[in-house]
Amino acid sequence: MRLSWFNITSLTLGFAFLYLPMIILVIYSFNESRLVTVWTGFSTKWYGELLSNQAFLDAAWVTLKVAVFSSTLATVLGTLAAYALVRGARFPGRTLFSGMIYAPLVMPEVITGLSLLLLFIGIGLDRGVLTIVLAHTTFSMCYVSVVVSSRLVSFDQSLEEAALDLGCSPWDAFRLVTLPIIAPAVVSGWLLAFTLSLDDLVIASFTTGPSATTLPIKIFSAVRLGVSPEINALSTLMIAVVTLGVIIASLISKRNFVREQHGGEGRH
């Protein structure tokens, strides 16, 4: 099918709109001037300043810790929840359970953050890395659960029955058959949870204490007052990491795809 000029224009303008702001950001991160909007010359000095800024490095470390812990925990809990929702036929409070899985997806972050903060104060839990991890786990497990359950729904239940039939205990059937098959969904669930945690400003701001500042909180307080060249550099680094990650992921999945298609060919 050939595209009409109208469609070509829509795509060009659409993707320009999506990508130009970030491209400009990347370009101006190499600007020498402190006045971000005036180009005076190429320089990488803001990267140097960023990397020698201990506060930013500390925040990055906290963010990474929180993201790794919360996304791993969220993946375990979210997968369990998806399994319970799709496979667990009927149990008391099922409606409440599925409501609690879907509600955090549409709940404004300010409310999730506020309510968790009030809980942590109520039970006297010191706010810091632990409370952010708990908060992030709670909302990202719901995303994981949605991703995993959409895979489980299309999963042929007779595969599990076949495993039982061939002598597996229920746990072995899950470990040897179900888990390998839903693994791609579990991995994307983890990645989603990880990104959500890296990204989150609002919930982290509510649930953190003075001991733990995450990168988004740091960025937010820096940019509230206006554009800053260090933040441009930091943004560029973050965009680079994501782009690299997406490229690697797509290469891996392409290679797996190729191997799948030709895997059995060697033998005959």
């Binding site: 042929d156 007779s158 595969l159 029955e161 076949a162 495993a163 039982l164 039939d165 061939l166 002598g167 597996c168 205990s169 072995d172 040897l176 058959v177 390998p180 098959i181 799948e260 298609q261 895997g263 059995g264 060697g266 033998r267 005959h268």
Partner: protein, 375 residues
């Protein structure tokens, strides 16, 4: 019956491999299987036949251990297997969807059950090789399920479920996903494998031809109950009710009032002004009882003149002809506007065929050609 024919069900001393004893299975308000009692013997190829929702799949899943009977019990080789979980039963199942593990190749799929049993490596390799050979899959051992054809997948599923040498193999619509030609080939292959391995097979199918082809005995089911359990020829030639006669193959059903004519013969008054039909019957009917004569189309002869020695003959007019190549089916309109079907083998080329539309013909058959049924 000759001595060497395999028919353990006629031997009162034979121990059945499987006994269903008054088994009922309810799902909420719905009764899938109702108070069902059935024996299946070793080395049998037993078919459960019926329309969807008749309870045949539920019976199979109870044998595999995926469903528990609401009441009654099921014995396998004399042991009650109701409390035994599926992974501890000497029963294996071939699934309708095949349920091949997509992340494992053919070899690993077949080896899966053997590995669960902790079989030593050498013995395992030997057993898998044997199974690959039996199902002609040697060349595809390293392929993933999505890299082979539907027919090959079906054979992998069979090899996988046979690998553990189960006492009993369950096959859930094993040929449902294959096209017609492949299905016929596979049916013979399946019978061959059953004979070679000596395993007891229980097959669930809604395809009556398939059941007739492969099975030593067929159980016709409807709404959770067994209607008739018999050999394929008995089911076809001597159905015990209109439902079975109608479900298996093509049949003419003529309704009327039965009157005793001699010890084993009845007359059936089926239409005013028509001579009554004569039918032999083992069953007894009270005078003027409502009865149904079931007669297969291929047992009805079509002639231009009334055959002199015919026990039953009806005159009619050809309404329609269905030409199927090897055979033709004539739809003949008889008294009361009723249509009867008669089949003839086309032993001559088409241009030499005798009858055409609107011809007046005689339909005739012997007293023993049909079965007189109560319901």
């Amino acid at each position: 019956m000759p001595e060497n024919v395999f028919a353990p069900w006629t031997d009162p001393g034979a121990e059945p491999l499987i006994r269903f004893r008054n088994v009922t299975k309810r799902f909420g308000d719905f009764t899938a299987v109702r108070d069902l009692t059935l024996d299946i013997y070793e080395h049998e190829f037993f078919a459960l036949l019926g329309p969807s929702g008749c309870g045949k799949t539920t019976m199979m899943r109870m044998l595999a251990g995926f469903e528990t009977p609401s009441s009654g019990h099921i014995e396998l080789a004399g042991q009650n297997i109701v409390p035994v979980p599926p992974n501890k039963r000497a029963v294996n199942m071939m699934f309708q969807s095949y349920a091949l593990f997509p992340h494992l190749n053919v070899w690993d799929n077949i080896a899966f059950g053997l590995k669960r049993d902790g079989m030593p490596k050498d013995a395992l390799r030997e057993r898998v090789a044997e199974m690959l050979k039996l199902t002609h899959l040697e060349r595809f051992a390293r392929r993933k399920p999505h890299q082979i054809s539907g027919g090959q997948r079906q054979r992998v599923a069979l090899a996988r479920s046979l690998a553990k040498a189960p006492k009993l193999l369950l096959l859930d619509e094993p040929m449902g996903a294959l096209d017609k030609k492949l299905r016929q080939e596979t049916q013979f292959e399946l019978m061959d494998i059953q004979e070679k391995t000596g395993t007891t097979f229980v097959i669930v199918t809604h395809d009556q031809e398939e059941a007739m082809t492969v099975a030593s005995r067929v159980a016709v089911m409807d709404e959770g109950e067994l209607i008739q359990v018999a050999t394929p020829s008995a089911i076809y030639e001597a159905p015990n009710c209109v439902y079975v006669a109608d479900f298996i193959g093509d049949v003419n059903i003529i309704e009327g009032a039965a009157h005793r004519a001699s010890e084993k013969h009845y007359t059936l008054h089926w239409a005013d002004g028509q001579a009554p039909l004569v039918a032999a019957s083992e069953m007894t009917f009270s005078p003027a009882q409502k009865a149904f004569l079931a007669i297969r189309p291929e047992k009805v002869l079509v002639t231009a003149d009334r055959p002199a020695d015919a026990e039953n003959a009806i005159q009619g007019r050809i309404h329609d002809i269905a030409y199927l190549g090897n055979i033709s089916t004539y739809h003949v309109e008889v008294a009361g506007g009723r249509l009867l079907k008669a089949q003839t083998a086309n032993t001559r080329r088409i241009e030499n065929r005798g009858f055409t539309w609107e011809n007046r013909v005689w339909l005739s058959w012997d007293a023993t050609a049909g079965v007189l049924l109560e319901r």
